[in-house]
Every structure is written in C-alpha cells, then in structure tokens.
C-alpha cells in the first residue's frame, strides 16, 4: 500500500500551485516567449513530480527531451518569427471569450468534481514492486518486449517528422548556380560589352555611398544593376533622381 511521505506532500503543495499559476500565466502573458518560458517551468515542475512518483526515467526524459529539446525548438521558432512579437489579448471573435471562460470553469469544475467522485475499488498500489529492479530496467523490459511493436513503429513517425520538416522547409535550388566560367561567357557574349567590366559599385558618383543607392552612369542616370537584387526585390532602393549631377547644393559649404 502506498503511503505518501511528508516531503513529497510538501513538495507537492509548494510546486503544484506554482505549476498551475505558471500555466495560467502562460495564458495571460502577452509575449509568446514568456509563455514558452513559463511552459518550460511547468514542464520542469512536472519532471519533479515524475521523479517524486517513482518515474525517474520519465523525469529525466522530461527535462532532457521535453524541456531541453522540444522547448528549445519552440524558442527557436519564436526567434525566427520574431521574439519581440507580442499578442494582443483582446478577443476579436465575438462571443468566444465568455464561452472560453464558461468552458474553463465548467470543464475544470466538472473534471475536478468527477475526479473527486471517482473510486477505483482499490487503494494506490505504488511502484515499489514494479520498480523492483530499477525504474529504467523495468521500463526497458516493457518497451522491448510488450511494447516493442509501437516502439518500432514510432521510428516511422520520426522519419515522417523529418521528411515533413524537409518538405516544408527545404529550398531546392530551382536553377543551377552559374559557374564563374559561365558568368564570364555571359558577360562577354552579351548584347553589349557594357557589363563586361563588371557591374558598377553602388554609390559611385553619388552623394551617398550607401549600398541602397544606385550608381550613376556617366550620363547621369541611375544604374539599377549596381545594387543587390535582394534590395531591389524588397523595394529598398532609393530614388536615384535626387542624386543626379548638377543638383549640388552650393548653399551648404563644407565645414573646414
């Protein structure tokens, strides 16, 4: 028969409210990254609970895999998406907020009430005998005998996940990157030899030498190919008209 020692009870009464509060906090904080950290805290708490409940292996895995790997993945993605992004917590879908609150109270209340009502017909057994040869060993025995099939199958799941991530994220090169030789040939066999000498540098002959300012050609017009295609694509190219020659402002004398 299982008896719960006082230290565990103390630990529970300390950590359980903290975990619940952290979870609540996760709902209520604006920044996703804070949510992630609070979730990590909940998970660590749970890991402690696991260990306290004779699930040593799970506790470790919880910390290493879940908190360590999974949560880091979350954080990584959060970084990618923008770590500063903060959610507005005002509800935009009409009627959802009251429903959510009612649901919270109802679901939680009913669940708690039902758990309180439940009986199993036997007391808590405890894992002392099951873990007799050690938690990890016992688990291993189960995993590699009784549950070997799902264990094998899970590997397929992992491959799926990897494949899936690759499908969605992997940029296959759609055109082969031109070799230097090809580039050279292209330059010289082009319509004109204008580009044979290489592209102009940005900012040349201009008042600005920033990378987003196109070079001015000898006739005073802007040379768009002097700046990075990426900047062009993003529309970050400045208007070259204001940099035409002859518009030098003489009123401002240079400081000496």
């Amino acid at each position: 028969m299982l008896t719960i020692q006082t230290p565990e009870a103390v630990m529970f009464w300390v950590l359980a409210p903290v975990a619940v509060l952290a979870a609540l906090g996760m709902l209520l904080v604006k920044k996703a990254v804070h949510s992630a950290l609070l979730l990590a805290w909940v998970m660590i708490t749970l890991a402690i609970f696991y260990i306290a409940q004779d699930a040593l292996f799970l506790g470790i895995v919880q910390i290493v895999v879940y908190t360590g790997a999974v949560m880091m993945l979350f954080l990584f993605i959060l970084m990618l998406v923008g770590v500063d992004a903060s959610d507005s917590l005002t509800e935009t879908i009409p009627g959802l907020r009251p429903i959510a609150i009612t649901a919270a109270v109802g679901f939680g209340g009913l669940l708690v009430s039902l758990i309180g009502r439940a009986t199993l017909g036997h007391g808590a057994v405890g894992l002392d005998s099951a873990n007799g040869a050690g938690n990890v060993q016992a688990l291993a025995k189960l995993l590699f005998s009784t549950y070997v099939w799902p264990f094998e199958v899970v590997s397929a799941l992992l491959i799926t996940a990897a494949l899936g991530a690759m499908v969605l994220a992997h940029h296959q090169r759609t055109v082969a990157r031109p070799t230097q030789r090809e580039q050279a040939i292209a330059r010289f066999r082009g319509d004109s030899l204008g580009s044979a000498a290489g592209l102009p540098n940005p900012g040349v002959f201009a008042r600005h030498n920033a990378v987003d300012v196109p070079a001015l050609l000898p006739d005073g017009s802007a040379a768009p190919n002097s700046i990075s295609a990426t900047l062009k694509a993003r529309g970050d190219m400045l208007d070259s008209a204001q940099f035409e020659l002859g518009e030098v402002d003489n009123t401002v004398t240079e400081e000496k």
Partner: protein
C-alpha cells in the same frame, strides 16, 4: 496526502491548456498550450501508474513524449511555412476558409 491530488493538478493543467487553445491567437502559443495538455495527460498517466502499481502508464507517457516531439517538428514546420507566406503567426489571420 492522496496521490489523487496529482490528478487534480493534471486536470487543471489540461483545462488551462484547452482554454489556451481557444483564447490565444499566436499559433505557437496555441501549440504550446497543446503541449501543456499533453503534459497534463502525462502527469495523469504517471500518477495512475503509481496508483495502479504498473509501469504501463509510464511507458505510455514515454511514447507520448516521443510522439509529441514528432508532432512539434511537423507542427512548427507548418507554422513556419504559414509565417513565411503571411508574415503572421496568428491563427486568426488564417481564416480564409470558412462557411
């Protein structure tokens, strides 16, 4: 203390996670709430393993973690894809499909 107390905690965490899915708009946070729910389930499993005196619950919890990891990979990949297309990770913005 009664080990059932863990069940209450798990129930609360599950509830909080479920509510989070409903009220949070950031897809990543929503997904984190799902993770919270899975963790709550795991806590329940571990607690029941202790109550029942068998390790099957722990095995299930272990599988859950593995599966959850896979789910996270796929899920985050989808979220990133959406983000790249829309420049937004809000689940509310993805509401073209309706009625």
């Amino acid at each position: 203390m009664n080990p059932y107390n863990y069940l209450y905690v798990a129930g609360l965490l599950f509830t909080i996670g479920a509510i989070g899915v409903v009220i949070r708009r950031n897809a990543i946070v929503v997904f984190m709430c799902v993770e919270l729910m899975l963790n709550a389930a795991n806590l329940t499993l571990v607690t029941f393993a202790r109550i029942n005196g068998t390790l099957d619950g722990q095995v299930v919890a272990f599988f859950t973690m593995v599966v959850a990891a896979c789910e996270v990979v796929v899920g985050l990949a989808i979220i990133v894809t959406i983000y790249r297309s829309r420049r937004s990770a809000s689940v509310d913005d993805a509401s073209l499909l309706k009625r």
